[in-house]
Amino acid sequence: MTDISHVAGHTPAEEIKKIQDERLKEVSFVTKVMRRPELGALAGLILVTIFFIATADPSMFTLAGMMNILSPASQLGILAIAAALLMIGGEFDLSIGSMVAFSGLIFGSFLVLTGWPLLIAIAATFVVAALLGGLNGQLVIRTKLPSFIVTLAFLFILRGLSLVGLKWATGGSTQMRGIGDKAGEGLVREIFSGNALEGLFSWLAAHDIIAKFPNGTPTVTGVPVSIVWFVLFALVATWILLRTRAGNWIFASGGDANAARNSGVPVDRVKTSLFMLTACAATLVAILTVLDAGSTDSRRGFQKEFEAIIAAVIGGCLLTGGYGSAIGAFFGAIIFGMVSIGLTYTRFDSDWFQVFLGAMLLLAVLFNNFIRKKVTGER
């Protein structure tokens, strides 16, 4: 007995090779892909899509129908991606929805009351939003209160200020109209409203590749800019999370703020920046919708904070922080948008709407989970 030293008598380098063979099972490509949190939500999206293909009016899956689903999904999605980053960073922002209304008011006032040019008004609105986001962040950090309660206070405060401000700005109404007319035309406007790729779509329609109205204009005149913003934001956010130092800091701050701090991560700065980001995302949505609708009212963005968190959670973010992905939130928003618009394409009585919404969300998430477990062999 006893002399067993020959058992592991290789050179280290040889040994590593050997270990990799010995203590790791082979995993298939599918397993590898599905294990990424980014792609878990994809399964749910596929399930939901199949459901609607089976039950909904075929016009849902025409080009126009898809744009119709993606355009609310994209507005929600911009918020959801920002909320996901913040949740990964370990905090919540419940003031996003109110921020949409407040930014809408600020933006409208800059255009209509002070008469600033569009570019200046947009820039100024973002500055105000970033300041408010920073204030949120600083309050959370300095008071060490949970962000839930701090941003909840701002949910009420900003919503209330939007009401007061609107009444003051319009002389008593809770709705401000005519913002669209003041915005004027030009490149800046085209970046924030209307459709992108209009030329391409007319060309496609002219060549009968896509559907058109009897008068010759295509039924879909282009890709709404909000969708473009949504996709870009998802890409950038994913890149930041997975490929940059800031991304590592976000995961670390949310995973364990103390451990991160002890390792030299500037946790407070990271969190403050994330709060500024959510505020700016809310502002982006406000500007997109205000320019699109031409008006704003004190209920804009109502409960959007909630929907954004839902989309992020569907997309696999943990409420406790430190885990999640931007692409997950991207798919989460599309799932949420597809379910809520999709039901209008089906023959279900709208009284049942909420029952279906709830059941579909649950099914989508269950399916996500089921597939992931199947594929990765977790137990």
Binding site: S59, M60, R299, R300, F302, Y345, S350
Partner: protein
């Protein structure tokens, strides 16, 4: 199975809002009566952006007719114009009588919230009201805000808005608090009989003060009973059942025979006072009034 003609209704009121559930009942009944397929759609909250998207979704399905409410012409205008451009006949209902024609709708059924408020306010002023309270259970919902605003205009005197939630206990407590802290209040206006009117009437009764007039928009069986018992003064009935029923009938006839009325149809207001209250209790309990 109902006929193949399909009419889509997009409103800004959720299906579980008592006012809108009556509209929806009208829509459903008309669908049955006219043998057409009807779908009622509304966003989950008062959300103009979402409502615009619902109209777009409706247009994609190329219905035989589209019925919309227009609480915000700027936000909904483009979508409505798009429907018209796509050749879909549009009728507006409830709100938007002033902008309906301009956007290309065939006609408007219903009546402005502000007008209804104004008429009720004037009536209350006539009855001797000096200081009013408007109990708003969803501040920021433009149609409710307009009801308050109209009431204030018609009433003339001092009007305070009391923001409350949907919760009866909360409404009762706040109404009592408002009356306790401002003894001059002699008129209380609630904006929805089942949600605001009933707890408001109960609260006023509990304060033990006599001579405070309670009125409410819309109908509910219990509130009507309070009216009949003299605990509340009157209820403002827009007959919103008609706002759902008539446009469907008009569009169905339009698609079948090309028949359509030449002008707007006012559906209200109709003040339900003590003498009429008892008759409508049952209809209200069934969601028709």
């Amino acid at each position: 199975q109902q006929g193949s003609t399909r009419i889509i209704v997009v409103s800004h009121g959720q299906a579980n809002d008592p006012f809108w559930s009556v509209v929806k009942n009208g829509v459903t009944a008309a669908g049955k009566d006219m043998n057409v397929q009807v779908d009622y759609r509304a966003p989950e909250t008062f959300d103009m952006v979402a409502m615009g998207q619902l109209i777009d979704a409706a247009i994609n399905q190329k219905p035989a007719g589209l019925i919309v409410s227009i609480p915000d012409a700027s936000a909904l205008g483009p979508s409505i114009k798009k429907a018209v451009a796509a050749g879909i006949p549009v009728i507006s209902m409830n709100s938007g009588s002033d902008v309906s024609k301009g956007l290309g709708a065939l006609l408007h059924v219903g009546q402005d919230e502000a007008d209804a408020g104004r008429i009720a306010g004037a009536k209350l002023k006539e009855m001797g009201g000096k200081a009013g309270l408007c109990v708003n259970h969803e501040v920021g919902n433009v149609s409710l805000d307009l009801r308050c605003k109209g009431f204030a205009e018609g009433f003339g005197g001092k009007v305070m808005v009391l923001p409350v939630s949907n919760d009866p206990a909360d409404i009762r407590a706040k109404v009592k608090a408002a009356i306790a802290s401002d003894p001059s209040i002699d008129t209380v206006m609630a904006l929805s009989a089942p949600l605001g009117g009933e707890p408001t009437a109960a609260a006023v009764k509990e304060t033990g003060k006599s001579g405070i007039r309670v009125v409410s928009f819309d109908l509910s069986a219990n509130f009507l009973k309070a009216v009949a018992a003299g605990e509340a003064t009157f209820a403002i009935d827009q007959q919103q059942y008609l706002q759902g029923y008539l446009p469907v009938v008009f569009l169905a006839l339009d698609s079948k025979y090309g028949l359509i009325p030449g002008g707007n149809v006012p559906s209200g207001p109709n003040l339900i006072t003590k003498d009429k209250a008892a008759q409508v209790v049952d209809l209200s309990a069934k969601g028709i009034r």
